[in-house]
């Protein structure tokens, strides 16, 4: 398994696409932070500059784009292999395909830890600087640490779900477009407009974990329930992927 994991990490490192995606995400995260600190770009304050949870909320909101990135990186782990035919060599090297699937899941989870750390380093530095520039409160309260911890968990979970989705939908364009439409359109509309349904969606569950309840008018699930829901989505997609992957002919 170590060899497979090393090979998956090497695959990620040896193409420029990974680095470009991470870079693009950091830019988006920076923009998100810049627009969420009250008074920097938008005057309409959605949260008070004196709120002790200000830093946690700004940093938490900064996870929006990185979550999309992690999912896409996960999806690409398999769809790129199908698209370029490298899956043939991969399965020739390790014909027990469930092991390949698990190695991809693990490698993406590891990558998510690195990417989350880099994201936090950037968003945190920028958040503190911008909040200070507005004379806001940069208290590092309990909620801040929950947000940071949940950020690592949710990023890893999204990466694993991405891998499973990529294994289930080998057509790269269909998988990527599907994920983007779901994350950027469906969830972004349904969660605020129909919270009764929306709060059961993955991003709402993730948001409850990252403590973004206040951004959605406190209509999200509890942290525990959100965690369970997210775990459920991960389990269902992973099990489906583990069932389908060994059976699929590689043509």
């Amino acid at each position: 398994m170590k060899a497979l994991l090393d090979a998956e990490l090497l695959k990620m490192r040896s193409t420029r696409a990974t680095a470009l995606l991470v870079l693009a995400t950091l830019v988006l995260a920076v923009l998100t932070v810049a627009t969420t600190v009250p008074g920097v770009i938008e005057e309409n304050a959605w949260i008070s500059l004196d709120d002790p949870d200000l830093l946690a909320s700004v940093v938490g909101n900064g996870f929006g784009a990185p979550l999309v990135l992690m999912t896409l990186l996960g999806v690409l782990a398999f769809t790129q292999e199908f698209r370029y035919g490298t899956v043939t060599s991969t399965y020739l090297g390790e014909p027990r395909r469930t092991r390949v699937l698990v190695a991809k899941g693990l490698s993406l989870a590891l990558a998510s830890a690195v990417i989350t750390t880099v994201t936090l380093a950037v968003t945190l530095t920028l958040s503190i600087a911008l909040i200070r520039s507005q004379d806001g409160d940069v208290t590092v309260a309990a909620q801040f640490w929950q947000t940071v911890g949940a950020g690592f968990v949710v990023m890893a979970v999204y990466a694993v779900i991405g891998v499973a989705v990529g294994a289930l939908v080998p057509n790269q364009i269909a998988a990527v477009v599907g994920v983007l439409i779901w994350m950027l359109a469906v969830e972004q509309m349904v969660i605020p407009l129909f919270p009764g349904v929306g709060r059961w969606m993955p991003f709402a569950a993730a948001s409850s974990l990252i403590q973004l309840g206040s951004s959605y008018g406190d209509q999200l699930l509890s942290v525990a329930m959100g965690g369970l829901v997210l775990l459920g989505y991960t389990a269902v997609t992973a099990v489906l992927a583990l069932l389908v992957t060994p059976k699929r002919d590689v043509l």
Partner: protein
């Protein structure tokens, strides 16, 4: 199923259907160590599906496909045992050739230096660190071969390895594959390029519409092909070879076209009967004729004149290698391009046509 010693490569009653389409139909054949087994069939005959079933990439609907008596997914560290090159396009375009190989070295537990060794073997050392999108089709073929050779495996399955290679590359490949077989490896090589197969294969397996149509040693199969004989004593020699079992056609006073005897037997008969020979030549398209008669597939350019073939050469270089007159064109190509001339064994009568 095969007795005590399992075959290096064996298919036993293998069928595969995709929905309503029966791609491979009750196919059985084998490949032996130390031999190149040519795997032939028209496009869509099921060659690639068959190779993929041997490699555990496609699950047979019924039957067994085994390597050394074992199915691929239970082989311990399969790259040690089987190397495969399927299609020239199975690479991430943004990854360098060396990194591509390093990925599979890592999986199989080989040191990175093995990647450099195989790059050297296939002649890609210079291009090792360039991304694959900058590779020509021929270079991708070489990279595919390099991937197959990583584990120095005793069994090699190659799908159309000569596709995209230029004549120098094809001459290189021919020697390379023969050398690999001479080292005792089991080589199963699918190809459209019949004249190439004729030059490298010891045995051939011909399939059509998923079914085996012919299998056997190449010299036995081509024994039924035509042997061209020129002799001032043609009339007497016709009787000799006829009584030895050949079908004889006397096309002019001193020219005989024989079927049913290999050239070496014809030569021996001539010696034994004291017949003077001016030419003794097996027709180059023996395998092609067998192939076309068995598969019902006819190549358009088979009857083309050398001039027509020459025109086609500009358009379809690869197609040429499956055609009569290849040897001459090949020589002409090497002369014109000043490429290093590979040793070409040809009867004297074939020379000079295009020079």
């Amino acid at each position: 199923m095969t007795g005590v010693v399992p075959r290096a490569v064996e298919l036993h009653d293998v069928s595969k259907s995709f929905g309503d389409v029966l791609a491979v139909d009750n196919l059985s054949f084998f490949a032996n160590p130390g031999e190149v087994t040519g795997f032939l069939g028209p496009n869509g005959a099921g060659k690639t599906t068959t190779l993929r079933m041997l490699l555990g990439l496609v699950e047979p609907t019924s039957g067994t496909a085994t390597i050394g008596g074992t199915s691929y997914h239970v082989l311990p560290n399969p790259p040690d045992i089987v190397g495969a090159a399927l299609e020239a396009s199975s690479f991430h375009p943004g990854r360098s050739g060396r990194d591509h190989l390093r990925v599979y070295c890592t999986v199989a537990g080989y040191p990175d230096t093995r990647a450099d060794e195989v790059l050297e073997i296939v002649g890609l050392r210079e291009a090792a660190r360039r991304p694959v999108h900058a590779y020509s089709l021929g270079m991708r073929q070489r990279l595919g071969l390099a991937t197959a050779l990583l584990g120095n495996p005793p069994v090699l399955l190659l799908d159309e390895p000569s596709n995209g290679l230029d004549p120098a590359g094809i001459a290189w490949l021919r020697r390379f594959l023969k050398d690999l077989a001479a080292e005792g490896r089991t080589m199963l090589v699918s190809s459209h390029a019949l004249s190439e197969v004729q030059q490298i294969a010891d045995r051939v397996v011909i399939i059509n519409q998923g079914r085996l149509v012919r299998e056997g040693r190449l010299d036995e199969l081509t024994a039924s092909s035509r042997v061209h004989v020129e002799s001032p004593d043609a009339e007497r020699f016709a009787l000799v070879v006829e009584s030895a079992g050949a079908a004889v056609q006397r096309s002019s006073a001193d020219v005989l076209e024989l079927q049913g005897l290999p050239a070496r037997v014809v030569g021996r008969l001539a010696l034994e009967h004291g017949v003077e020979l001016h030419a003794l030549e097996t027709s180059q398209d023996g395998l092609e004729q067998i192939f076309f008669s068995l598969t019902g597939v006819e190549g358009d350019a088979v009857d083309a004149t050398p001039e027509q073939v020459g025109e086609l050469a500009a358009l379809h270089r690869i197609v040429l290698h499956g055609l009569e007159g290849t040897a001459d064109l090949e020589k002409a190509f090497f002369r014109l391009t000043q490429e290093p001339h590979p040793p070409v064994e040809r009867p004297l009568s074939a020379q000079g046509v295009l020079s």
